[in-house]
Symmetry: C2
Amino acid sequence: MAGKKSYCYDYPHPAVATDVVVFTLVNEQLCILLIQRGEDPFKGSWALPGGFLREDETVEAAAARELEEETGVTECRPLQFGIYSKPDRDPRQRVISVAFLDCLRASDVSLRAGTDATAAKWQPLESLQRHELAFDHETIVSDALVAARKACRETPIAAKMLPEIFRISDFQSATEALLGTSIDKRNFRRQLDEKNWLEKTESEARGTHRPAQLYRLSRSVPET
Amino acid sequence: MAGKKSYCYDYPHPAVATDVVVFTLVNEQLCILLIQRGEDPFKGSWALPGGFLREDETVEAAAARELEEETGVTECRPLQFGIYSKPDRDPRQRVISVAFLDCLRASDVSLRAGTDATAAKWQPLESLQRHELAFDHETIVSDALVAARKACRETPIAAKMLPEIFRISDFQSATEALLGTSIDKRNFRRQLDEKNWLEKTESEARGTHRPAQLYRLSRSVPET
DNA sequence: TCAAAAGTGTTCTCTTTACACCCATGC
DNA sequence: GCATGGGTGTAAAGAGAACACTTTTGA
């Protein structure tokens, strides 16, 4: 592609990459997106989606681009939560990774094996085993979970895992899945209407029960 | 020094630098450390201390090293709070900056002009004018202040601006300077002894008033 | 009429804020 | 004895946690 051009500097420059921890719900279970590496090192292992920073983009833009490339989902605003810079974290060359997280709907994602990936999957966090991930991605995932839990108290990020319109109880389950705790229904609803995160829609959800008011994310909302 | 060796890669690699926002108190006023640039771009302007990441160190280590080089203060643990990666933020070349902050005692610092700096000074934050700083360092400083204010609610970081032993009222003034607010004395003391940040020393401060108990930072304390 | 989920208020506890006086010393 | 900062408690308001029953629908 790039021919044989090479880029030279007087001092060593690290490669800079972004890694993205993508959370979603599959059957009410909190999962993260993993891709299977098609190249050494760690060929065959599962790893976080990510890639190298390009010349003309910020790290935020790089993370959003990677996310779109791996999932087909556009208009993400991944949240930066860490930097990983141990000199030997990648055995090939020095790579500094800027880590991001985002939540999105599993149904919007068309899992696609990327350029250097052979497969992709949604991995339930609960059944993620130790030493299953490449590089230091285990550390990144566990830091991401802490950051996501913090974020979902301050922003409606958990709603990004839901359909465009949803019931309050859906939003509560999503939040509970992310936090790993259960929340009292009345307290959850009260705190919710002190914020301005949701707006009513005209529709209701029907089922073998009382119809439920449906909501969507407000337009004027603190993004991630 | 390094001769004419050069480092080549198949893809463009950005330079990675760390910038450190160092807070201290000079006459009860909150100040930050600035250095005057001896080279273009922005020759003669004031900027944050910082420098490039070396091959064998993490960004945290690089920030600590820079801090030591510019101030002579060892054993810092600067706190990472941001990344600045706009492609054109440095007109010479692409530089990504990982930003850190720390608090330290002005009396421990021997201000020294570094390799590419002609001078260094403590700049009172209050009298920092717009457009006075090089690059995007104004943004970095204002983000640092937000991060430092958050940190001083969670850790005794403000005490790092004080002598090794100090009165509670000193700690309160330092906290107030950092927060830019005044705090009720009794509330401050009550909240303080719910934490385990300080331990009593054997000594007292005397003056034309009732002697004051002196404290030091506890050994087992959440570092920055 | 039953099963299933929706929706709704009150009490208690804990945290945060506001506020004023006496104490020990040096001069 | 007076100026200076040190040290202390209580009440009110707000935030977070605990807790149970009625409503509406579909089958």
